[in-house]
């Protein structure tokens, strides 16, 4: 039950993009069409779950025993950057199909703040390993849901007749605002 609450609250109520404002750059940057948006979402789900497990283990078995928790930021970003490289190499060898689908998005993920953000939030919330994994799954699915919905809205925007100065980013931001308002309707669900 407790796990279900984590999943629902991370996907709908505290959606990482629309309520917590993490990962806005890819949210605006790779949402011009639905297939790339879903590809990016898939890559984020994949990397976020693995990186959350890795950083959780690093925090509890290296940083805390050595009493250097203040090195968190430096260590995490290195772990994530390293991990993204490894995932890229392994994926290329093991599953060329998956690599074809996610490959181009992987390098972009190092600077996607959702990954580092979730890794830090897990520690701040004092989650155990299982809760952390579920939290990561919920958040990355929430990211994918938000970016997929947003990209299909943006595809419609392309054909809309807008004033010149509203085209592109301003219209996209206002659309995001309405989407975010819609997600606020989920508040109080849990």
């Amino acid at each position: 039950m407790e796990y279900l609450v984590i999943i629902i609250s991370t996907i709908f109520i505290n959606n990482i993009v629309l309520a917590k404002f993490l990962g806005i750059c890819p949210f605006l940057g790779v949402s011009k069409n639905t297939s790339t948006a879903v590809g990016m979402g898939g890559a984020v789900i994949f990397v976020m779950v693995i990186s959350t497990i890795m950083t959780y283990l690093v925090q509890h078995y290296i940083l805390i025993p050595l009493d250097i928790a203040y090195m968190q930021t430096v260590t995490y970003i290195l772990v994530i950057a390293f991990l993204v490289q490894v995932v890229e190499i392994v994926l290329k060898k093991v599953s060329p199909d998956l690599y074809q689908a996610l490959g181009v998005y992987l390098p972009l993920i190092t600077t996607n703040c959702t990954i580092l953000g979730v890794a830090i939030l897990v520690i701040q919330n004092n989650f155990n390993l299982l809760e952390s994994v579920i939290f990561a799954i919920g958040n990355s699915v929430g990211f994918t849901l938000a970016i997929a919905l947003f990209s299909s809205l943006r595809e419609q925007l392309d054909t809309a007749d807008l004033p010149e100065y509203m085209q592109g980013i301003p219209a996209a931001l206002i659309t995001a605002s309405i989407l975010s308002m819609a997600f606020m309707g989920f508040a109080g669900l849990v």
Binding site: L18, G23, I24, L28, I77, C113, L116, I174, M184
Partner: protein, 201 residues
Amino acid sequence: MATTNYKENFLNGIIKENPVFVLLLGCCPTLGVTSSAINGIGMGAATAFVLVMSNLAIALVKNVIPDKVRIPAFIVIIAAFVTVVQLLMEAYTPALNEQLGLFIPLIVVNCIVLGRAEAFASRNTVFASMLDGLGMGIGFTLALTLLGTIRELLGSLSVFGVKLVDADGMLVFILAPGAFITLGFIIAVMTWLKKRKPAHS
């Protein structure tokens, strides 16, 4: 040549290449922390510090770092300065630190910092890089403060925490949707001003 260039380095980031309104970099903290003007200034100052220091450090060591590992090296330098900011803010401004929370460590992945390191500091002199960092930092701070002021004014009818009218504002501007819509309209106004200018002059 040198003096005018320095001035240009500095001013570039404030107006012509404003990181938020023109380059659209660093959107996460821009939207996330600007529910009030004070938060905007705090976040801007923290980012400006990291920008100046990391630009300075990277310009100093740029010739020593092998080209292939340049990005990881930059990230480690930036992360080190972010840790410095984090510890300083925890010690001296605990209230602000509480407000900004997660967004302080996330300066590491703010695209402005790495972007300037890669685009400017890795191929310019130490002094020019510092000025560039300062200009970008001030531009970022101004953008965040503007956004924060507008949202605070509409959302709680106050400016810098001082209540102007004793009534409830539009709560939605403090909440998430307000951030998106305010930034959307600011960028639209900017584009409109830019488009209008040539016709008048």
